[in-house]
C-alpha cells in the first residue's frame, strides 16, 4: 500500500479542496436565494446578484465538481490500472494549480470579469490556466492507463477518457475570443452563431462534467461498495457509445423559439429525445445490479446514496428531454422551472454521488471505517429533503409563472403585468431558501463525518508509527 501513500494524499487534497469550494458555492447560493426575495441583501459592487450568480455556478461546477472529478478519477485510475499514478509529482502540482486557479476565478468573477457565456464566464487568461490544468490531467490519465498492469479497461476508464477528450474540444472552441485587454475579451462568434456555439458547449458541459465523470464514479463505486458486479457489461457498452454520440447534437434545445435556424433546433430536439435511451441504460444497469439483493439498501449505507443518486439522474434525463419539446419549452423556458431541474441534477445526482464516493475513499486511504454511519444517514435524509423541496417548489413556481405570462383576456389583452407575476413568486422563493438551509445542514453533517474519519485515521497512523 505504501506505493500509493503519496498519491492517496493527492487524492485527499483534491477531495478536501472540492469540499471547501463546495461550501463557498453553497453559502453564495443561500445568499442568492435570499436576494431573490429581499433585494436589500445586495451589497454592491461585489455582492450583487448578477456577480454572485456566476460565483455560485462556477464555484460549484468547477470548484466542487471538477475538484472531485480530478481527485476521484485519480483514485479510480490507480485501482483500475493496478499501479500508482505515472506522474505523482505532476498530480500534486495539479492540485496546487487547481486551487490557485479556482481562487483567482472567484476573485475575477467578484470583480465583474465576465464573458457572459454561461458556464464559460472566466476571462481569457484564466481560460488558458484551465487548459493547462486539463492537459496535466490528460497526461496523467493517459500515461497511467498506457502503463497499466491490467489488460482490460473497465467501463469507468472509458467514461474518464471520454470526459478528457470532449471537455477539451468543447472548452477550447467556445472560449475562442478576441482579447481586448488583459481582463476583457469578445467572443470570436457573433449573434446566432455565438448562441449556437455557446449552447453546444453549455449543454455538453452538463454532459461531460455533470454526467460522464459521475457515471465513471458510479460504475466503479457501486460494485465496490455493494460487492455486486455490474448487471450488464453489454448494456454499458451500448449506453456509453450512444451517449457520447448523441450528446453533441442537442445543445440547441436550449434555444427553442429563438432566431436560431429551425432545422438546428428540430435536430437538437430529436436527438434530445433519443438521449433518454443511453441515460436509462445506466439507470437500468444500476437498478438491476442492486436488484440482485435489495436488502443492501438497508444493510449497506452507501447503496442508498448511489441508488437514489442514479434515480435522480433517471428523473433528470426524462425531465430534460421533455423540456426540449416545443410545447413544453414555450411554457417553462425562462422560468424558475429550470433552476428546479438544475438542482435535482446537481444536488440529487452529482453531489449525492460524489459524497458517497468520498465516504468510500477517505476510510480506505486510512485503512479504517467511516466515523459514523448514523451521521451519514442523517446527512442523506437532510440533503434528500432539501433537494426535493427546492426542486418541487421551483417546478410549481415555473408553471405558474409560465401560465400567467401567457394568459390573455377574452378581448385579446394580457391578463397580468410582469410585476403581478413576479410578486406571486415570493412565497416560493422564501421556501426555496428554507430548502437550501436544510440541504446545507445536511452537508455540514457530511463534512463533520469526514473530518472525524480523518482524525480517527490520523490517530491510527500515529499509533502504528
Amino acid at each position: 500500500m505504501s506505493d500509493y501513500q503519496y498519491d492517496n494524499q493527492t487524492v485527499k487534497g483534491f477531495i478536501l479542496s472540492s469540499i471547501f469550494w463546495g461550501v463557498v458555492g453553497i453559502v453564495v447560493g443561500l445568499l442568492l436565494s435570499i436576494q431573490m426575495w429581499s433585494p436589500s441583501h445586495n451589497f454592491p459592487p461585489f455582492f450583487t446578484f448578477g456577480r454572485l450568480r456566476v460565483v455560485h455556478t462556477n464555484g460549484l461546477a468547477f470548484g466542487l465538481g471538477i475538484g472531485a472529478i480530478f481527485g476521484i478519477s485519480y483514485y479510480i485510475l490507480m485501482r483500475l490500472t493496478k499501479r500508482p499514478l505515472l506522474f505523482p509529482k505532476l498530480a500534486r502540482f495539479h492540485l496546487h494549480l487547481f486551487n490557485v486557479a479556482i481562487a483567482l476565478a472567484a476573485v475575477s468573477l467578484f470583480a465583474g470579469m465576465n464573458q457572459s457565456l454561461e458556464y464559460a464566464e472566466l476571462e481569457w487568461p484564466l481560460d488558458i490556466g484551465v487548459v493547462i490544468l486539463w492537459v496535466i490531467f490528460a497526461v496523467n490519465v493517459f500515461g497511467t492507463i498506457i502503463k497499466r498492469k491490467e489488460e482490460q479497461m473497465y467501463i469507468s476508464l472509458w467514461y474518464i477518457i471520454a470526459t478528457v477528450v470532449a471537455v477539451a474540444v468543447l472548452y477550447i472552441v467556445n472560449n475562442l475570443s478576441i482579447p481586448a485587454g488583459l481582463f476583457k475579451s469578445y467572443h470570436l462568434f457573433a449573434g446566432v452563431n455565438s448562441a449556437n456555439v455557446e449552447w453546444w458547449y453549455g449543454h455538453n458541459a452538463v454532459g461531460f462534467i455533470f454526467t460522464t465523470p459521475i457515471l465513471a464514479m458510479f460504475y466503479y463505486f457501486l460494485p465496490k461498495s455493494t460487492g455486486m458486479p455490474i448487471y450488464s457489461h453489454r448494456l454499458s457498452i451500448i449506453a456509453f457509445w450512444s451517449l457520447t454520440f448523441g450528446y453533441l447534437w442537442t445543445g440547441a434545445h436550449h434555444l427553442v423559439y429563438t432566431p436560431l435556424p429551425d432545422w438546428i433546433q428540430t435536430l437538437a430536439i430529436v436527438f434530445t429525445i433519443f438521449l433518454i435511451a443511453p441515460s436509462w441504460g445506466s439507470v437500468v444497469n444500476g437498478f438491476y445490479t442492486v436488484g440482485a439483493d435489495w436488502s443492501k439498501m438497508r444493510t449497506n449505507y452507501l447503496t442508498k446514496f448511489f441508488i437514489w443518486g442514479i434515480a435522480f439522474y433517471g428523473l433528470q434525463t426524462v425531465q430534460g428531454p421533455t423540456q426540449a419539446l416545443r410545447v413544453v419549452s414555450q411554457l417553462i423556458h425562462y422560468t424558475d422551472w429550470v433552476p428546479g431541474h438544475v438542482h435535482m441534477g446537481t444536488m440529487g445526482w452529482v453531489t449525492m454521488t460524489v459524497a458517497a464516493c468520498i465516504y468510500y475513499i477517505i476510510p480506505k486511504i486510512y485503512n479504517t471505517e467511516i466515523y459514523s454511519e448514523k451521521v451519514a444517514n442523517i446527512h442523506f435524509w437532510l440533503v434528500l429533503i432539501g433537494q426535493l423541496m427546492f426542486s418541487i417548489t421551483m417546478w410549481i413556481t415555473g408553471i405558474q409563472q409560465g401560465a400567467m405570462w401567457k394568459a390573455v383576456n377574452p378581448d385579446g389583452t394580457l391578463k397580468y403585468t410582469f410585476m403581478e407575476v413576479l410578486s406571486k413568486n415570493y412565497p416560493y422563493w422564501q421556501l426555496r431558501t428554507v430548502a437550501g438551509l436544510i440541504f446545507t445542514v445536511g452537508m455540514l453533517f457530511f463534512i463533520y463525518n469526514i473530518h472525524m474519519t480523518i482524525r480517527k485515521g490520523k490517530a491510527l497512523v500515529a499509533a502504528k508509527a
Binding site: 436576494q35 431573490m36 433585494p39 445586495n42 450583487t48 446578484f49 448578477g50 456577480r51 456566476v54 470579469m113 465576465n114 464573458q115 457572459s116 457565456l117 493517459f142 498506457i146 482490460q152 479497461m153 472509458w158 471520454a162 477528450v165 470532449a166 474540444v169 478576441i178 481586448a180 476583457k184 469578445y186 467572443h187 462568434f189 457573433a190 449573434g191 446566432v192 452563431n193 455565438s194 448562441a195 449556437n196 453546444w200 453489454r234 457498452i237 457520447t244 454520440f245 453533441l248 445543445g251 423559439y257 429563438t258 435556424p261 435536430l267 437538437a268 414555450q330 423556458h333 425562462y334 405570462w405 401567457k406 394568459a407 390573455v408 394580457l414 410585476m419 413576479l422 410578486s423 415570493y426
Partner: protein, 199 residues
C-alpha cells in the same frame, strides 16, 4: 464485443471517442458556421458607438444576463408583452450574444426607446420606487465609476467597429451608468416595432 482491441488500447479508444464526438459537432456547429444562414445582418443595424459599447460591457460586467433575456419568441402573448419578435439579423454585432436563459426580470429585447433616458437613470438608482415589488438590485453606484476612454477605444478596435476620435474624447467624465443607459436605448432599435401593450 468487450474483448475487442478497442477496450485494451487507450489511444485508439480516445481517437474513436474524438471521432464520435465530432460527428454531431460538425453537423450542428461547424457546417452551419460556414453558411450565410448563421451570419445574417438586418439592413438598419449599426455597430455600437463607443458609449453604447461601454454600456454593453457594463451589462456583461454586472451579470445582468443572469436575470434578463434579450430575445422575444414568436409567441402571441410574448409579442403582446414585449413587442415584435426577435430576428436573426439583429445580433450581428453582439459578441457574444446576450439572449440569456432566465426572466427573473422582464425581457429587454425591445427596451430601446421605450422610456426616456431620465427614466432609466432613476430606475437604476432605485427600482423599488417605480415598482414596489421589484427584486432588482439598485445600481446608482455605477455613476461613481468613470469610464476610461482609452480602454473603450481598445475595445472598439478589438471589434473593428468604426468611431470618430471625438466620440472617444466625449467619454471623458461619463460614468458607467451613463453608458448603461445609452446601451439600453439602442437595444432592439434596428427593428421597427408596433408598440407593446404593457411592460
Amino acid at each position: 464485443m468487450a474483448n475487442s482491441v478497442l477496450y485494451k488500447n487507450p489511444i485508439l479508444f480516445a481517437v474513436v471517442v474524438t471521432v464520435v464526438v465530432l460527428i454531431g459537432t460538425v453537423v450542428t456547429l461547424f457546417y452551419p458556421m460556414m453558411t450565410a444562414e448563421m451570419h445574417p445582418k438586418l439592413e438598419g443595424l449599426k455597430p455600437y458607438t463607443p458609449l453604447e459599447l461601454a454600456g454593453k460591457d457594463v451589462y456583461q460586467q454586472e451579470g445582468c444576463i443572469g436575470c434578463h433575456t434579450q430575445t422575444v419568441r414568436p409567441l402571441k402573448a410574448e409579442v403582446l408583452r414585449y413587442g415584435e419578435y426577435s430576428k436573426a439579423g439583429e445580433f450581428a454585432y453582439d459578441q457574444p450574444f446576450l439572449w440569456g436563459s432566465k426572466r427573473t426580470g422582464p425581457d429587454l429585447a425591445r427596451i430601446g426607446g421605450k422610456y426616456p433616458d431620465a427614466w432609466h437613470q432613476m430606475h437604476f438608482e432605485d427600482p423599488q420606487s417605480f415598482f414596489a415589488e421589484s427584486n432588482m438590485p439598485k445600481y446608482g453606484w455605477l455613476k461613481n465609476n468613470k469610464l476610461n476612454p482609452s480602454d473603450v477605444e481598445a475595445h472598439m478596435k478589438a471589434l473593428g467597429f468604426p468611431y470618430k476620435p471625438d466620440e472617444i474624447t466625449a467619454l471623458n467624465g461619463k460614468s458607467e451608468l451613463d453608458a448603461l443607459v445609452a446601451y439600453m436605448q439602442v437595444i432592439g432599435t434596428a427593428v421597427k416595432k408596433p408598440a407593446a401593450q404593457t411592460e
